[in-house]
Amino acid sequence: MQKINYIAVILAVCLLGSCHKLDLAPVGVISDENVFSNANAVKAYMADIYANLPIEDFVYEPNQGFMAGNGGRWQCFYHTDAIDGEMVGPFGGTGDAAQGFGFWPYDKIRVINVLISKLPSYASNFTADQVNEWLGEAYFCRAYTYFALVKRYGGVPIVRTVIDPNASAASLLVPRDKEEDVYNFIASDFDSAYALMKDPGNSVPQGTASKYAAPAYKSRAMLYAGTIARYGSANYVDGDARAKGFVGIPAADANTFFQAAYDAAKLVEGHFTLYTGGYPDKQQNYVDLFLKPNNEDIFLRQYTQSDPNTGGPTPDNGGPHSWDATMTCRIMTADGLSRAYPSEDFVERFGALPIVNPDGTPTRFSNRADLMQGLEPRLLATVYFPGAVLRGIPFDVQRGIYKTFTGSAAQELQNNLTSPNDVQNGANINLWLGDINAVVNGLDVIGRAGVSTNGDDLTRTGFYVRKYVDYNKAASSCGLYQSTQSYIDMRYAEVLLNRAEAAMELGGAALADALSDINQIRDRAGAPPATAGMTIDTVRNERCKELAFEHQYWWDIRRWRTADQVLNNRNMYAMLPYYITSENKYIFLKQLEPFKRTYNFQKNWYYEPLPGGELGKNSHLFPNNPGY
């Protein structure tokens, strides 16, 4: 009997522990209805859309793409403008990135299409304004994404609806649309966004689109379409795709697009202003424009140190970036290294630097920083010159030491480049060059901030990027993944530049408007005003100066169809300081940047090749772009 008791007790225990049902769902799954019937859930849905919006932000790499979740997220120096010569450094040349990275974000477009198609049927859960606002944002994001596609590939398939996964295989093979049609589609989506969203007044939301962001971006897109129509007709690689209109826009339509760009830009007027909060110091004002929230910002991507998805299994774009750590040099930061440096060629857009006397001898400066005197405030706010100071530490940029220096800069450039980096046999030579540890007669041969020719973690051009660098942060907080300043993807200055360029292209009555737009920019920059005789090149050059290192120049020289001339076997220049011991003076020599990268642009790169895998899956995508 006792036996039975034992068994009964033990069986009872076993069975009690075993009343588990097989219907157990995983944790953290939300149903369709829950997503579209709750305001916070829709906001979360929108957050997902914004998280994936293809913004060419601090961590975007032109050969790798949008670096959400990628380990390369710290490498801010793989910057688009390092393939077009505004900067030199990490890339071997333009070709490293000119053919893109197989961008094909239709999964993200689907997410947007789902919202556009489903939200209206749940509209009763919300106010009409709220629904319209969300729909407007969705149209904005869809147009934004298609613009990111069209500027790379030309015409791509336009998918407006949510494709049924059970659709027939044939209907899944969506054909390519013409480039012009894609631009028109983008225009109409931005128009829808503008129409649906309400005027935010003074409270512009940060990190999401608002009503006037739509025409701002429309002005950019239409300007692209207009220039492609006008200049793409003259400079192109012929091919089947061009004949069918998948790439290229008829020249006749140029003015229509320019007019659309102009009109859209004009719509934005009055809702945003150029930042002048830091006046009267125009240099400081321009520096702060990129660091302080202000009414010039139209659309931003924001970052936070406490993003829970940083480094986790599903990291996103909201985590900190590394701009501060990877744009200036190690002595002012806590980690990282820089590899991309503004070229002398870029700096000369603001005019030649006064480093050579009329007689050809190098100008002597008692102090490196003296070179900066009289330069345009905007230039000094965009680029750190030798002698500039960050976090209390000067950029003591120096390439070497001369015992004595005689003769002209040009003659010296013939000679000194072949001298050995020898500091020990100093007695017999006039120019000391060396590495970072080299000391001669108690003097550092090169500065702690460069110039280095051994590695690429110190400047090779004499300059460092200043735009966006947060001078308020302590050096110890400037490590990798410690920067959270917002990326400004659209600011009012660009809208003015879009407007000016469209006006110049339209000509006639609009020319006066172009001049006034440009002079607003120039005034804020601390530059002398342009005059009535200005040309399209004046406008373009102004754009390059104002929007430097903002991922614009690359797309600009492509749409202007000038890239193949600008980057034709091109070497970039550096401006390197030397110290002359006999005179206790500094000189600057303009010489080829030490790594001597060569930049070339092939004409077929005006369009990227369609992703090979997609061509394999969908024969209707053919023909591929010309030259591929």
């Binding site: 034992y6 899944l172 969506v174 991507r301 986790g312 002595i331 806590a334 072949t418 061509l615």
Partner: protein, 1073 residues
């Protein structure tokens, strides 16, 4: 354990079967005329009871078998002759005197182990009767190898068990293993091979556990390990497709007087590190650097660049005026200690017997600071109780707790920087040890290995298992037993991750000041806490009986239910007071405050299974086995919730056939068995609730108005039909023993076809649909191979020795593979995977090294840039397609990659008087490795190099122009610095190796001496692990992984910077009281 599992093997039959067969059962009881019951007990020479031995009347041939305790009762009258036989033992005849109880000790016939009890799925079988491909490692064979990981101790001992130890980092247990190549990694959405292969199912005392648990067992608590490689694993159903490793722990012995044995053992090891890379010194570095600068055309330098280091600078280091730094030597030490202690007690009587084990392990690292170190406690208490007659219980309680300490620096980065920092830099600014110097990436290895500076990470695991077993012999039906088991398992991982900010310094000679730079700021502390609870319940009916003295039947039906919950959370704070506790967080700084939960660690899972098995044999000649399992899991879609996994095994023991016995004498052909198995097995590891639709929350989000908003992410289009992979396994084998075990062996051939490997059908779905698809059961593969075991056991005079060799070969081939339509025939050839062998390494075929400019000028194949930048010593490759250009189209399959195709092991053991020696040779072939990063080329990241790269082509005069055709060159292994690194078949190296995995020499102190001081046994030994390795591979251990496939998880090799493997020298002793 042997006893218990014997009951586990007791038969179950369906009711109908019972009814039919009960009649002969009752008939048997009426045997003999006027005889009296006669009792006996049968043990082997070690005193262990022999269960299942045959006891029969010589005349009538009628008889019975012994029970689990080796006991029997048979009716006999005086004068009857009783014959007692057991496979592998010499037959014993006994003349009944009447009224006596006898104790028979049977002597084994030399070497034969056919009577060994083998643990198989949910039971045990005699080795002679095993029909599956099952390999066993016994405790004494396991512990010969001394290592901190039980997995490493299995290496080379089991044919078909492929084991690759990747690293000997304390506490990392980084060893990859699989059975017959099963469980190879599958592909993810983008076609990338994901992560590591899935290890086999591991069952410890009947409970599914993780491979980490197996690695962390105390070897002294293990009685035996069975490896089920074929359809014999099918009884484990949906998780068994990759084979099953069954571990059985020790049970208490039964001593006549209830005496217990206490054994204490200690093993002291010294670890020595294999192939720690050796960096160049400053002079060598500058030489290479200058060479590289001259050689390097990569940056379009329009003339040769100036020398970075002048002769006079080099002379400063050569003369010793300036010191060069060997960063590797600065942080490593040649020897590191490792100690194991173990105490166990075992004993018992008729009522109770028990086994108690306590183990401790501590392992240090090769860092001078010993900042990586590991310690572990294991404990186990196994108690078996005879509660009342016919009712037995067992309580198994075990656990471990371990701690790994490590500095807050990724180990691979420590090695990376120790290998690549330039030797002209110094560890300390101005050589002042108070000021660690600033190095690139803030990576100063001297600091990185110092937990006091960078902060210490502490990883703790705790695991508890409690199991209750109950067995009840159901009265009325002989051989029918009911059994219940309940296991409760609980584990905790508790991690503390402390990041400390610290200063690095540069020294300014001009002003004689130290410039500090604060890095790793702010200091943070992170705590991670994971818990997991598993319960498992089994209820079973077991039946075992012999009918008519010839028909042996065992059966089992079992119901199993498992419940698994997992939870976790983590929190991080920055701290300012220097106290690494969450409570001492810096309240003002919310930037670095995170609170989170790993959703993948949230588990809530129920499984249910019904298992059945029926074994039958006729006189041990014709054997058959059928098993099935019906599995269900809450992880599966309701449409595919239950899966049925049947298996059938058959065998024929030819050696037991009378005609064979007449043909070949049984003492020549002791055993010959042919067997075959076929079964269906499942693999559910890839199923991740892809049948559920909806949205994931919280997912990646965006910062909006300054605060982070988590996103919701669509889960994709659900696939309700998605189900587990199916593996159909066929195995055919033969086992033989000759001359009573003098020579034995087995041979197996297997094919496993796997279908329904989950894969994303995106390969053919245009991206424009934007559809995020779930996986579907699309792909297939096929694995086949052979295994061979040969053993030889002999005693010559006083020397007894054993030789045992094993060999396993396994190859995997893709079946159908969902892929995008090839763009061209070439694309098809190069990239298609369908019906191709997997793990193929593509690359160029090495041609040779250019030896002179005249050869280069005469070379009419363009190796790139018209050969303009080629210098003597550069490699060239074969122009396979004869188009005059070396490009990607010249790549061909050159080798197999990842785990070795062929693995082998050879065990040699001998004893003479009180001495014993064991040697285990282990190796692999058809195995290739490619070096990564620093081992592949010098001056990686424009930093330093390893010493082997000094053996390179270079100009005899370092100042000579290397582009001048008249320059005199000195040849070497490698091309000149700055030339392209080895590629293709030059880079991929044959890593075939054979190593002395284990060497042990022991000596048992004479018993006469010990008896006086109350000690039963003392054995002392010396031992070595990885004593020597025979391989053609240089500069790295063949098991240490190099470059992984582009698509593979980078962490498998971590760029080749994994902590190295070790060799150990040990001395130890075991004392039994």
């Amino acid at each position: 354990m042997k006893k218990l599992n014997f009951f586990g093997r007791a038969a179950w039959l369906s009711a109908i079967l019972c009814l039919i067969l009960l009649r002969p059962l009752s008939a048997q009881k009426t045997e003999g005329g006027g005889p009296s019951p006669f009792k006996g007990k049968i043990t082997n020479d070690k005193g262990e009871p022999l269960a299942g031995a045959s006891v029969r009347h010589k005349n009538s041939n009628k008889g019975i078998t012994t029970d689990t305790y080796g006991e029997f009762t048979i009716s006999a009258k005086p004068g009857d002759i009783i014959v007692i036989s057991f496979i592998g033992y010499a037959e014993v005849s006994h003349v009944v005197a009447g009224g006596e109880n006898i104790h028979v000790t049977m002597k084994p016939v030399s070497g034969a182990n056919l009577n060994d009890v083998i643990v198989v799925g949910y039971g045990t079988q005699k080795k002679a009767n095993v029909l599956g491909a099952v390999s066993v490692v016994k405790a004494e064979d396991l512990v010969v190898t001394k290592n901190e990981s039980v997995v490493n101790m299995l290496s080379g001992k089991v044919p078909g068990l492929r084991i690759q130890q990747m690293s000997s980092e304390p506490g990392s247990f980084n060893t990859q293993f699989d059975i017959r190549g099963f469980g190879s990694a599958i592909n993810d959405a983008s076609g990338n091979v994901t992560g590591n292969p899935t290890p086999p199912l591991i069952i410890i005392d009947g409970v599914p556990r993780g491979s980490g648990d197996l690695a962390r067992m105390d070897p002294s608590e293990i009685d035996n390990v069975s490896v089920l490689k074929d359809a014999s694993a099918a009884i484990y159903g949906v998780k068994a497709a990759n084979g099953v490793i069954l571990v059985t722990t020790k049970r208490g012995g039964r001593n006549a007087n209830g005496k217990f044995n206490i054994t204490y053992s200690v093993n002291q090891s010294w670890q020595q590190f294999l192939d720690v890379p050796d960096p160049v010194n400053a002079v060598q570095y500058m030489e290479l650097w200058n060479e590289n600068a001259q050689r390097n055309f990569g940056n379009n330098v329009t003339g040769t660049a100036p020398k970075a280091y002048s002769d006079s600078t080099i002379a400063l280091y050569a003369s010793g005026k300036l010191h060069s730094t060997n960063w590797m030597k600065a942080i490593t030490r040649p020897l590191a200690p490792e100690t194991q202690h173990n105490l166990n007690m075992s004993g018992g009587n008729d009522k109770v017997n028990y086994f108690f084990d306590l183990g401790y392990l501590t392992q240090g690292s090769l860092f001078k600071t010993n900042s990586i170190n590991y310690n572990r406690w294991n404990f186990r208490s196994n108690v078996n109780v005879n509660i009342t007659k016919g009712l037995r219980g067992a309580a198994l309680v075990s656990g471990y707790t371990d701690t790994k300490n490590a500095p807050n620096s990724a180990v691979w980065t420590i090695f990376k920087y120790a290998e690549n920092l330039v030797p002209t830099d110094q560890p300390y600014a101005n050589n002042n040890p108070k000021y660690p110097s600033l190095e690139p990436d803030n990576a100063n290895p001297v600091v990185m290995t110092n937990s006091d500076i960078v902060g210490q990470n502490i990883y703790k695991n705790k695991n508890f298992q409690g199991q209750l077993n109950l067995e009840y012999d159901i009265p009325g039906i002989t051989g029918l037993m009911a059994k219940a088991m309940y296991n409760y398992g609980y584990s905790v991982a508790d991690n503390t991750i402390v990041n400390k900010s610290f200063n690095l310094y540069t020294y300014d000679q001009g002003t004689q000041t130290y410039n500090a730079t604060l890095v790793h700021s702010p200091s943070t502390v992170q705590r991670q806490y994971y818990t997991n609870t598993n319960t498992l319940m089994q209820l079973s009916l077991n039946y075992r009986h012999q009918f008519g003295g010839a028909h042996n039947v065992t059966g089992l039906v079992l119901y199993e239910e498992g419940y698994n919950t997992g939870d976790n959370f983590q929190a991080q704070e920055s701290f300012s007071l220097g106290l690494p506790y969450l409570f001492a967080g810096n309240a003002g700084d919310a930037n670095y405050r995170t609170v989170g939960q790993d959703k993948n660690g949230l588990v809530n899972l129920v499984t249910r299974s019904v298992v059945g098995r029926l074994d039958y044999d006729y006189k041990g000649r014709y054997l058959a086995e059928f098993s099935f399992r019906e599995d269900a899991s809450s992880k599966f879609s309701p449409l595919k919730r239950w899966g049925f996994f049947p298996a059938g095994l058959i065998g024929w023991r030819l050696s037991n056939e009378p005609f064979m016995e007449s043909l070949i004498a049984p003492n020549v052909l002791t055993n010959l068995k042919i067997r075959a198995s076929y079964g269906l097995l499942g693999d559910d590891q890839a199923l991740n609730y892809q049948w559920i639709s909806g949205y994931n929350y919280p997912g990646p989000g965006a910062v909006i108005n300054g605060s982070y908003v988590s996103g919701v992410n669509a889960l994709g289009v659900p696939n309700l039909a998605l189900t587990w992979m199916q593996s159909k396994t066929f195995n055919a084998g033969v086992d033989f023993d000759l001359f009573n075990g003098l020579i034995g062996g087995s041979f197996d051939y297997f094919i496993r076809k796997r279908t329904g490997i989950p894969f994303f059908p995106t390969a053919q779905l245009p991206g424009t649909s934007g559809i995020q698809v779930s996986q579907a059961n699309l792909n297939g593969d096929k694995t086949n191979g052979i295994e061979l075991v040969l053993t030889h056991h002999h005693i010559i005079r006083k020397v007894s020795y054993t030789i045992s060799g094993n060999l396993g070969v396994s190859r995997i081939k893709h079946g159908y593979f969902e892929e995008t339509r090839a763009a061209s025939q070439y694309d098809q050839y190069k990239n298609s995977l369908t019906d191709r062998y997997s793990n193929i390494w593509w690359g160029y075929l090495y041609g040779g090294q250019f030896s002179s400019y005249s050869q280069i000028y005469g070379y009419n194949i363009n190796t790139g840039a018209g050969n303009q930048s080629v210098v003597p010593g550069d490699y060239y490759y074969q122009d396979i397609n004869h188009d005059g250009v070396i490009d990607a189209k010249d790549q061909v399959p050159i080798a197999t990659r990842d785990l070795p195709i062929v693995n082998f092991g050879l065990t040699l053991g001998a004893s003479w008087n009180n001495f014993d020696i064991s040697v285990l040779l282990q190796g692999a072939t058809d195995y290739h490795v490619q070096f990564a990063e620093q081992l592949a080329a010098p001056l990686q990241y424009q930093r330093s190099a390893l010493i082997e790269f000094m053996n390179r082509w270079h100009t005899a005069d370092p100042n000579a122009n290397m582009f001048d055709p008249n320059t005199v060159w000195v040849s070497g292994n490698y091309p000149t610095t700055g030339s392209p690194a080895a590629d293709g078949s030059k880079a991929v190296q044959n890593a075939t190796y054979m190593r002395i995995k284990t060497l042990e020499i022991g000596y048992a102190l004479p018993k006469k001496l010990l008896g006086k001081i109350g000690i039963q046994n003392i054995r002392i030994y010396i031992n070595s692990y990885n004593l020597a390795t025979l391989t053609g591979m240089k500069y790295s251990d063949p098991e240490h992984p190099g470059q992984v496939n582009n698509n593979q998880d980078w962490n498998i090799s971590q760029g080749g910077y994994l902590y190295p493997l070790n060799r150990t020298f040990s001395a130890g002793a075991a004392v039994s009281f």
